[in-house]
Symmetry: C2
Subunit: 461 residues, 2 copies
């Protein structure tokens, strides 16, 4: 790695780059909170300045009905060189429960070689090493071996509600041969990997109402429907005793793994004790007859991501709750179709609601599952880079998560490549999110190497 192209640049600019990272992480760009809209915009402006400072051109904010995305390109590599869209996002998750953070989510701090802040790894850190790799290569060579188009979104953490429309509107400007997504992870620092499939996602809020208002539990309890109980019953009814999702038709379109995929999945080492330790859990559970890696990679799932009804304060309040909200997220795999699954879930929710309860289903975004052909030459190029920078050949994985990648691939009509340095214990979306700084610096070097490796391939298929 010491003879990697960008190693001297990374060493020489260590302090400035670190300071830039911390400055960006101080911006609370929480896209889920409407009152944080000015902060999301400040983060977009910060991103635009980073791109311009790095030497990218045509930098501008792309407005949406929600938060702005940021665009910048460098297109001087010539027609013969590949053109790549680099995707990431500058918005971050909410921070609750706030009291579990050791230091403030927007007071970034580097401790023991790890950077702690909301957005450190998801996704500001991963966007920053991509930008700094460009800046380093331009400093070194005054040019890049490929044409690059950065597209850094501002609504990824709320399900990218306006992203597909943006892609359609900007389709010509975004024309490319390949998309590099900088928002994923690897199995471990000594177990590099890249993702060749991502689960899709459909989300729902089920709003249950059983009465005009909360009722006194002494006066009415036992004789009237209870919204918190109905929400709990719906949540409990979502899985059967074998951990399978009970929504009729849910598994109909799941494509079985090919033999090659099954073999690769089986080759990933799995240490149940270490996995449980990383997750901080005391048991592994899930769909009967499936391994944990199958459960998070190749199988669709349903999660109760939130349930809220009645009194949540100290002690007891003697009420029969009139309303409750149940928030559900379903992870989808090829070839499940978000729209059909959403219809099935909505039908299930209405059928499962007992007498005396009304259930309003709100769809909270949908992302189809994505697949990258693992024999595409760009996958090979990325694997060579990962092997050089991390010291061993990467495994091919399926990522449990999903973002707007599916729309990117579908609208732009090109394959997706995943360069990501996140680790399973980075606590994304949770308190004390962190990025391991050594992974960041390797990411910067790998990003630079990748552009040269891709250019060497010649025209992409």
């Amino acid at each position: 790695m010491d003879n990697a192209r960008l190693a001297p640049y990374a060493a020489a600019h260590r302090e400035r780059i670190t300071a830039t990272l911390l400055d960006w992480l101080r911006i609370p760009s929480i896209s889920a909170h409407p009152d944080r809209a000015p902060d999301v915009r400040a983060s977009a402006d910060f991103t635009a300045a980073l791109l311009a400072d790095a030497g990218l051109e045509h930098v501008e904010l792309i407005e949406t009905p929600g938060a702005p995305a940021v665009y910048g390109d460098w297109l001087r590599a010539g027609d013969g060189a590949p053109t790549v869209v680099v995707y990431g996002h500058h918005d971050v998750q909410p921070v609750d429960p706030i009291d579990l953070w050791r230091t403030g989510p927007f007071e970034p701090e580097i401790r023991d070689g790890q950077c702690y802040a909301r957005g450190a790894i998801d996704d500001k850190g991963q966007v920053l090493y991509e930008i700094e790799a460009v800046r380093g290569l331009l400093e070194l060579d005054r040019s890049l071996p490929v044409n690059l188009k950065f597209l850094i979104e501002g609504e990824e953490e709320v399900g990218s509600p306006h992203f597909e429309a943006l892609l359609w509107a900007e389709r010509e400007r975004l024309a490319c041969d390949l998309i590099v997504v900088s928002d994923t992870g690897m199995l471990a620092p000594d177990l590099p990997s890249t993702c060749v499939a991502m689960r899709g996602l459909v989300g729902f809020t089920l709003s249950v109402r059983t009465a005009r208002g909360d009722l006194h539990s002494g006066m009415w309890g036992g004789a009237v429907p209870n919204a918190a109980q109905v929400a709990a019953q719906l949540a409990a009814a979502l899985h059967d005793g074998d951990g399978r999702v009970t929504v009729p038709g849910f598994y109909d379109d799941v494509r079985p793994l090919s033999e090659a995929e099954a073999a690769s999945l089986a080759a990933i080492p799995f240490d149940a004790a270490a996995w449980m330790d990383t997750a901080g859990v005391s048991a592994l559970v899930g769909e009967a007859g499936r391994t944990s890696l199958e459960r998070v990679g190749s199988r669709p799932t349903a999660e109760i991501v939130g349930i809220t009804g009645g009194y949540g304060g100290a002690g007891i309040k003697t009420i029969v709750p009139a309303t409750a909200d149940l928030k559900l997220a379903f992870r989808l795999v090829p070839d499940q179709k978000p729209e059909l699954i959403a219809d099935a879930i909505e039908a299930w929710a209405h059928a499962a609601a007992p007498e005396g309860a009304s259930v309003i289903v709100t769809r909270e975004g949908a992302v189809a599952p994505a697949l990258t052909p693992s024999d595409h030459p760009a996958v090979g190029a990325l694997c060579r880079v990962l092997e050089r920078v991390w010291g061993r050949p990467p495994l091919l994985t399926r990522e449990g998560g999903s973002g707007p990648e599916e729309a990117l691939g579908r609208v732009l009509g090109v394959p997706l490549l995943f360069l990501g340095v996140g680790l399973p214990d980075d606590r994304i979306h949770a308190p004390n999110e962190r990025m391991v700084m050594d992974q960041f610096w390797r990411g910067l070097i790998a990003a630079g190497e990748l552009w040269h490796e891709l250019a060497a391939l010649g025209p992409l298929p």
Copy 2:
């Protein structure tokens, strides 16, 4: 009613009494919120001033490890006259969900003959008419026909955690022949009733934990336990398909209704449509094979009073929640014993928790069910008063709710009498709590009549 003793007093003092009521209701004496402790104390001071102004003597705050109770007495009726403890409380319920209040919970307002505020009927209004009845009688006669001891608690809405200790400590000072509870209701203004039994209560918080922190649902979802799901499963498992509580042994000690009680319960008119309209529900549900009045009066029940786990904000957060709280309230009937039931519930919760989930059970107070012998002469006296003031003989009911009345009766060793003017649609514990002012004025008159009616009985058994 116009020839009732206190009718001229009520008419003459209408404005002052109303203003006093509104002043008291402006004090946000929420005992469940530690930061409201100064307000609960201000409410205690207000109560003490009311008692002193009315002519009661030995007025003082009785301190507890929590909020203070208020005491005041008038003991000049002589040894031959009955001595009565009047019980009520000056603390109020929390106000959430605050956005459903039409006017501020502590900005009391009288609209269409109804007083809207938190605590209007539960229980400041009901305490005030008792105090004003004393003031009126003392103005009229310079004396009372009975010895009275007011005991106005400050922690009723948090389960009276220090009340029984207070009763034991103050047992001599509180010695009496009878307790009159001023914290209940009647079936309707044209259907007066009094309660001869109250359900008991045991409350619990079940704190579920499945991981150190929330986990990303894409990365871990489907393979690790989910605290929100576990809480929902526990909540759903609490009842069987017949609406019966599944906790082993729960029904073992339930005493069947006597024939007389069953007949009285059956005589209470029940209009299902009106009942549903009052509750604001579209169905009546509950234990199979029981009427609605049995379900709320003579049968024990379990209610999910709150469930909170994971994300509760706008949209979706893609997490596997690590913690969830389930709040349960069980209503008990004679002869269920709170301690045995609590043990059974705790054992059930631990047995029902699935692998990978820890459940911590916190007991949130316990009140045993209470019964008053319906052939006690004081019950007859009260019934005569209710008939005079409301124009028809009252029905005997069982109150679904419960307070510290059981401890009062048990520690002081005397029967309980329930004079209460609350109505089923007063929305106690809910937004837009109200008191019908006409009920308040009748309550004032009835309270004065009751002391004369009781004195006429001679020595109580």
